[in-house]
Structures are given as C-alpha cells and as structure tokens.
C-alpha cells in the first residue's frame, strides 16, 4: 500500500519541488537585484539569458547524448525574431518573446529531425556548419536583416507602476530573470519526468530503449526541440537586454563557448547550467583583471577567456568529466561518508 | 626448462575470478591441449599469456623470461604467436597482405611467402583477394600461416576448429601436430572439441571454472572415461 502511495506522491512532488525552487530563486534574485548597481544588473541579465540557453543545451547533450555546436545560431534566430517584431512591427515584449520561442522551435524541429540520423562527429560537423552558415544569411538579406550592423531595438520601458526612477538595467534584469525562471521550472520538471527518463534511456542504449517501446527518433527530436525553444528564448532575451541583434554576436565562438559552459558546469545538470552561465558572464571580467595586474597586452587579454575555455574543455574531458556540479556532488558524498562510514553495502 | 611456463596464474574480471591459480608448462616440439566447457577460462588464459589482458597474479615465462605485463607487440617480438578465437583475419587487407603483415617485424628473417603457399595451396589461389572473401577454413589457414611468417617458437591457438566442417577441422589439427614437430614449436591449443584435440596432443590440461582439474598425458586423459564424461562431453 505504501509503495502505491509513494508512487502517487512522486509526480506531484516534482512539480511542487520545481515551484518551490522557482519561488526561492525568484525571491533571491529580487533581493539581490535591489542591491546591485547598473553594471552588475546587466551582468545578472546576461547570466539569466545564458542560463536559459544552457539549461536546454545541457539537457540535450547530457541527458539525450546528442551534441550540438549550433545553438549559437538558434539563439540568433530568437534574437532576430524579437528584433524584427519589436523593432519593425512594434510588438509588445511578451508576445515577441513567445514568437521567438515559436520560430526557433520550428527551426529546432527541422534540425532535430535531421539530427536523429546523425551520431557523434557527424552531428557535430553538421551543427558546426549550421552555426557558421546561418549568421551569413544576414549578409545576404541586408535590407531585412540589417547586414553586418544588425538590427537595433528600443530599450524596454519599465511600467509606470514601478516608479519614474526605476533603473532600466534592473528592469532588463527582471525580464531576463523571469525568462530564466520559466526555463528553470520547465527544465527541472522535464529532467525528473518520464520524458527526461526517455532521453536518458535513448542515450544509454538505443536498441534497449526501442525494445521498451520508445521511439528513438521521436525522443531525440523532442530533446532537440526543447533545447531549441530554450535557445530561442535566450536569444530573444539577449536582443532585449542588448537592444541589438547582429551577426557578430552569434559567430562560431558563441556556440563553442556555450559548449564549454555546459561541460564545465556539469553535463546534464540544471545546476550545472547555472554554474556555466556564471562562468560565461564573470570570466571575461576576471581575465581582464588578471591581465591588468600582470600588465598583459590587449592582444593577450582579449584572447585569454577563449584560451581558458579551450583548456577547460580539454581538461574536463580528460580529468574532470563531471564538471563543477560533479565535483560538488563528489565532495558532498565524501563528506556524507565521513559522517556515516560503512553506510554503503559491501559489494558481493 | 619448458619453453612456456605458467605458474599460479590468476585472472579476475572485477569480482569474478576467471582463472584461478593455473599452472602448466609446454615443451618445445609438443602440443598441449587446454580443454573444458565454455566459460572455463580458456580464452582468458591465452589472452593473458599474449598480453592482451592483465593478470591479477602468478607468472608467465617465455624461454625463462617473465612476460607478464610486457606489451602485446613486444611479446610477439619475442617469438610468441597468438592465433585468436575467430581467426582475427583483417578483412580489409588481401590474403597476401595479411600474410606479409605477420612477418614484417622479422624483416629479412621472416619465412618466405612461398613456404606458406606450399603449406596452404588454397591461399595461393586467393592471394590478391580481400580476406573477407575467404571461407572459414581458408581463414584459419591464413591466420595460422600469418602467425608462422614470423618464425615463432610458441604458438597459441584459440579454438581453431570453431565453425569448420569436420573434415577441414581434422585437416587443420593434423597440420598443427606436424608443424609442432617439424618446427620445434611449443603449441598451446585451446579447444572445445576435446576428442579432436586429444587425438593430436601430447599433453592435456582440463579446466573447470578456472581451475585445473586434470593435467596428464593426452592418451591417459582420453582413456579416463569418468573424466571425459564429466568435463569433456564425450
């Protein structure tokens, strides 16, 4: 009887847990943002839209085992959609963001369907081509997409209810964080749901999974579509925060940085996505400080974050596959073992 | 001192002990058969001797020198040839290329290709064909010939009769026996077909669940009805 009630209780508790997580995170962010100056508010906003992309990407790579080097291009799709709708068509903020998600999801369906037939290096190569090729469209359709300079949009105005002196940066941070919280809720539920389990099953053993009745191609496409939706939202938020959508922001380097961030944070973990977002936002500042204290030239300091990303990717795969989240988990479990030694069963 | 000496060899796969304290010796110019049911540890034994797998304990000596822990290619270069289960023929290379490959490390001292074609005439007909197109029996000839190209002193054979028609299998067995004598090889032969193996072997070692349960002259094993029924299936 208790097994049955336990099973009934489990689905509800995931939703409740996600909701609690979102409320807690939202409150924490609210409090934090009150104390931040405009520069840090923008950093927070940047971190928020990175988190949106990374949460989807880490689910794609970590849970469903499919690599994508093209999520920078998917962000571009979201960003340009928002820029076109808000800039030219004068859409309101939320509908524009929803449209960005919808359009990117559509692209994600196409990419995902193609991706199901590809594995490993082939998938990497195809998404790599996508990442380099898509931004070039801006050069082809300059009248619509603004060419090299991109599209500019007006900054979002804070609602009058918040007061006349409400800082723009804080409002942008709130928008971005709201988007991030939505993604957090959705992804946390997904990871702990049957869909998340289906992803893992297909990643680990396709043949076994299909013998259990899972349609491998469909599951893989769903994973791609979900991650594309997150990327679309992240890109849309980026356009709102930066008030700009230009091809330079979505070069191959972005896709590679996103990959580094999810690997470093810990593949497959939502918390890992948060760590990764923090690194993406904070690392350039840190390397700048290091460069100044060592009097390094701009040539060196400008390339330092990328050099670190490259090193991190290599070391993470060789030495540290769990990323930050993995290291934390290992440390926690070591602490637990020290407190209750011999709690594990000896192997037969 | 025997050419190949194995002393208290132990092989573990995690918690499973595949080979448990096996001791045996193979003299030059003789054939020793290793027999027993599937899962008795026979293949693990050969793969560990040739260096493909790690042992957990014991010693293996080739002509007096310890070879446990030595790299696979270096063990091969000391004169030990291993013909693996399933032949190990490289399908993408031609028959002749497979043969030549066997003798490359020997350089000028390698056996001439002509010798192998004399020994195995069907291979000469198929010398330029890809090894993938050879029949089971031809592949077995190819992998033995390839091993002989390097003029080895020790020959490990893993289930050479597997998947072969009885006539071909008998032919291969007789060949192994005559090669051992003619080229003074120490042959360690793993076989499930115990009757066939004992008919050409000088000594027999029976393994059960990784342990030696019998180690005697082949004729004595073949005559021991109780043993045959219990472990050898005939």
């Amino acid at each position: 009887m208790s097994a049955v009630t336990a099973r009934i209780r489990r689905p509800r508790s995931t939703l409740a847990r996600s909701l609690g997580l979102v409320v807690f995170a939202g409150a924490a962010l609210l409090v934090a943002s009150e104390a931040l100056g405009p520069y840090d508010e923008l950093q927070l906003a940047n971190g928020a839209y990175y988190f949106a992309v990374l949460a989807g990407l880490t689910v794609l790579i970590g849970l469903s085992g499919q690599i994508s080097l093209g999520h920078g291009a998917l962000m571009a799709v979201g960003a340009y959609t928002v820029a076109l709708l808000i800039g030219d068509e004068r859409w309101a903020l939320v509908p524009a963001l929803l449209a960005a998600v919808a359009v990117t999801t559509l692209v994600g369906v196409l990419v995902g369907a193609a991706a199901t037939r590809l594995r490993g290096p082939y998938l990497a190569g195809a998404t790599l081509a996508f990442a380099v090729g898509l931004p070039a469209l801006a050069d082809k359709y300059t009248s619509l997409l603004g060419g090299e300079n991109g599209l500019v949009i007006n900054p979002p105005t804070p609602p009058s209810g918040l007061g006349a002196n409400f800082p723009l940066e804080r409002w942008e941070a709130w928008i971005a964080c709201a988007g991030a919280l939505v993604v957090l809720f959705a992804m946390n539920n997904l990871v702990h749901s049957d869909v998340g389990r289906a992803f893992r099953a297909v990643r680990d053993d396709e043949i076994a999974a299909s013998l259990c009745g899972l349609h491998v191609g469909r599951v893989q496409t769903v994973a791609f579509v979900v991650s594309a939706a997150c990327a679309g939202l992240g890109g849309g938020l980026l356009a709102v925060v930066l008030q700009l959508a230009s091809p330079g922001a979505f070069a191959l380097q972005l896709s590679l940085s996103l990959l580094t961030a999810v690997v470093l944070g810990g593949l497959g973990s939502i918390a890992g996505a948060a760590w990764g977002a923090a690194v993406l936002v904070l690392l350039p500042g840190w390397t700048n400080d290091i460069a100044h204290s060592f009097s390094l030239s701009t040539q060196v300091s400008a390339n330092l974050p990328l050099a670190i990303y490259g090193l991190v990717l290599i070391l993470a795969m060789l030495v540290w596959p769990g990323g930050i989240q993995g290291a934390l988990r290992a440390a926690v479990s070591r602490l637990r073992e020290r407190r209750a030694p011999g709690a594990r069963d000896a192997s037969p | 001192m025997a050419l190949l000496e194995i002393e208290q060899l132990t092989i573990d796969y995690g918690p499973v002990r595949a080979v448990d304290g096996v001791t045996l010796a193979v003299e030059e110019g003789s054939v020793t058969a290793v027999l027993g049911a599937n899962g008795a540890g026979k293949t693990s034994l050969l793969r560990t001797i040739s260096g493909l797998e790690r042992a957990s304990g014991g010693r293996v000596r080739l002509d007096g020198e310890d070879i446990l822990g030595v790299a696979v290619e270096d063990i091969a270069r000391r004169g030990l040839a291993h013909v693996p289960e399933g032949r190990g023929v490289i399908a993408e290379l031609s028959t002749e290329e497979n043969l030549r490959l066997g003798g490359l490390w020997r350089g000028a001292q390698a056996a001439p290709l002509g010798d192998m074609y004399e020994l195995f005439p069907p291979l000469r007909e198929r010398r330029t064909q890809l090894a993938a197109s050879l029949s089971g029996g031809e592949r077995q000839m190819l992998s033995i010939g390839r091993a002989l190209m390097a003029r080895p002193r020790v020959l490990l054979l893993d289930e050479p009769s597997l998947g072969l028609a009885p006539l071909v299998s008998a032919q291969i067995m007789r060949l192994i026996s005559s090669l051992a004598v003619a080229r003074k090889l120490a042959v360690l032969l793993v076989e499930q077909n115990a009757r066939s193996a004992l008919s050409i072997a000088d000594r027999g070692v029976v393994l059960n669940l990784g342990r030696v349960v019998a180690d005697d002259a082949a004729r004595a094993l073949a005559d021991d009805e109780g043993l045959r029924r219990a472990y050898l299936g005939f």
């Binding site: 790579i61 690599i67 193609a114 037939r117 590809l118 594995r119 490993g120 290096p121 082939y122 990497a124 190569g125 195809a126 790599l128 081509a129 380099v132 090729g133 898509l134 070039a136 469209l137 050069d139 380097q253 990959l259 580094t260 690997v263 040539q299 060196v300 400008a302 390339n303 330092l304 990328l306 050099a307 990303y309 490259g310 090193l311 990717l313 290599i314 795969m317 060789l318 596959p321 | 040739s50 696979v72 290619e73 091969a76 040839a81 693996p84 190990g88 023929v89 490289i90 399908a91 993408e92 290379l93 030549r100 490959l101 490390w105 020997r106 090894a131 993938a132 592949r139 390839r146 390097a150």
Partner: protein, 292 residues
Amino acid sequence: MTRFIDLTLNGISTGAIYALVALALVLTWRATRIVNFAQGGMLMITTFIASSTIASSGSYWLGFAVALVCGLALGALVERGLMRRVEGGPALNAVIVALGLLILLQALAGMIWGNTPRSFPPAFSIRGYEVGATHVLFAPNDTFTVLVVVAVAAGLAALFRGTALGLKMRAAAFGPEVARMLGVRVGRMFTLGWALAALVGSLAGVLVAPEVFVGPNQFDPILIFGFTAAVLGGLDSPVGAVVGGVVLGLALSYVSGYEGPSLVTLAALAILIAVLMIRPRGLFSSAQERRV
C-alpha cells in the same frame, strides 16, 4: 558561357584545397576513428608560423618547408600528447577534446600574432592564364595547387599500398588488436597517421592562405568544407576525399557565382545533410567494416 567556365575552373582549384583538408580528416579517421575538428586550428598555426618565417627570412619556400615540418611535429604531438587519451573511448569525448583544442589554438594564435587577418603570398602568380583576349579564372598558382593534390594523393597511395610501413599503418587502422599481436607497434602507427594528416593539412593552409588571409578564425570555413567533402566521399576513403573535394568545390563555386557568396556555407550544409540522409557512408566508402 565564359562565366560557367570560370566558375568551373575556380571550383576545381578551390576543390583541390577542400580535397587536401578532407584527406587530412580521412587520415586521422582511418588511423584512430577520430574526426579531428582541431585540424582547422592546426593548419592555421602552421600557416602563421610560415607567415612569420617568410616575413623574417624573405623566402617563400623556406616558409613553405617550415610549415610542413611544423605540421608533422604538431600532428605527432597532438596525437601522442592529447588524443591518445581519448582514442577508443566514447566518440563524444574525442569530439569535445578536439573542439577544446581548436578553441585553444585559435586563442593562442590571437595572443601571439593578433586577431587582425594578415596577407600571405601565393607560391606562383595569381594572374589568370591568357586565353585569346581574356584571362580565365585559373592561374599558375592554381595549377600548382592541383599538382600538389595529385602528388599528395599519389604519394599516399604509394605509401599505403606499396610499402611495409603503409601496410602496418593500414593494419593498425583496421585491426589494431590483431596488428599488435603480430608485433606492429600500433601506437607509433597512430602517431604517424596524425603526423601525416597534419602535414597534408598544413599544405592546405599555405595554399589557401593567400585567398582567405591568415587569422585565428579565417580558416573556419575551410574546416567545414573539408569535413563536408570528407563525408561526401566517405570518411574511410582517401580517393573519396579527393573526389568529394572537387565535387564540393564545383558545387560551391556555382552557388557562389549564381546566388552569391554568403550562401556558400549554407549550401555546404545542405549538401552535408543530403549526403548524411541519403548515403551516410559517402560515395566511395567500402561496405566492409566487419573484422573476422
């Protein structure tokens, strides 16, 4: 009509470059079953070194030779020092390590030489041959490029089919465990495969540099086109790499000529997807992959 001829000739010369990059990728794939995404970065580094050599010594051919030697060394170093640790493991790990190396190399190049693309001299004249009253879009330098590809292809064929070393390399690639049992030092064969691949890559780098300029990110498209060509021809097949390169070069030349240069990468993507959907093994891959 002249436009078509021009585009065709241009396609052949650019296709030759793609063929070289594709060959480099095929070599590392055959040797170690790894797609070397860092190849673009490796040939970028050797081209930078060549550029600095030419600038300081004044001799093109010295720079050319230095690029080749550095290619050999870099390939061996990368395989032995880095890729060896991910060979034989999950494919995703090798992909990520290669990408990490790519990023690292690009950042290092930016640190050492700066991010501004710089020019690079061609080996021979880039003025098109005179045919009647006009110049075609094919110059002595392009002839040189095509000859290099032919020479490399012939050299590799001779190496692999005709020499003991080549046999060992093929054996190490197709049956590493069996090869080890036959006394082949398989690790060394892997390293040699990567060294050769990097040599071929560095050839591509110096040959294409006059056109794309030398900078940390200037060779990204070449990597993608080389990969597409390799997949088109079959990752297992050196012949396929050459044919795939030329076919891709022609196709992209026509796209660029008739639709505009900004669609070229997307066209390559479309071809890549088409090949992977219709005939994933590529045009020239042999069906045998089983070992018996």
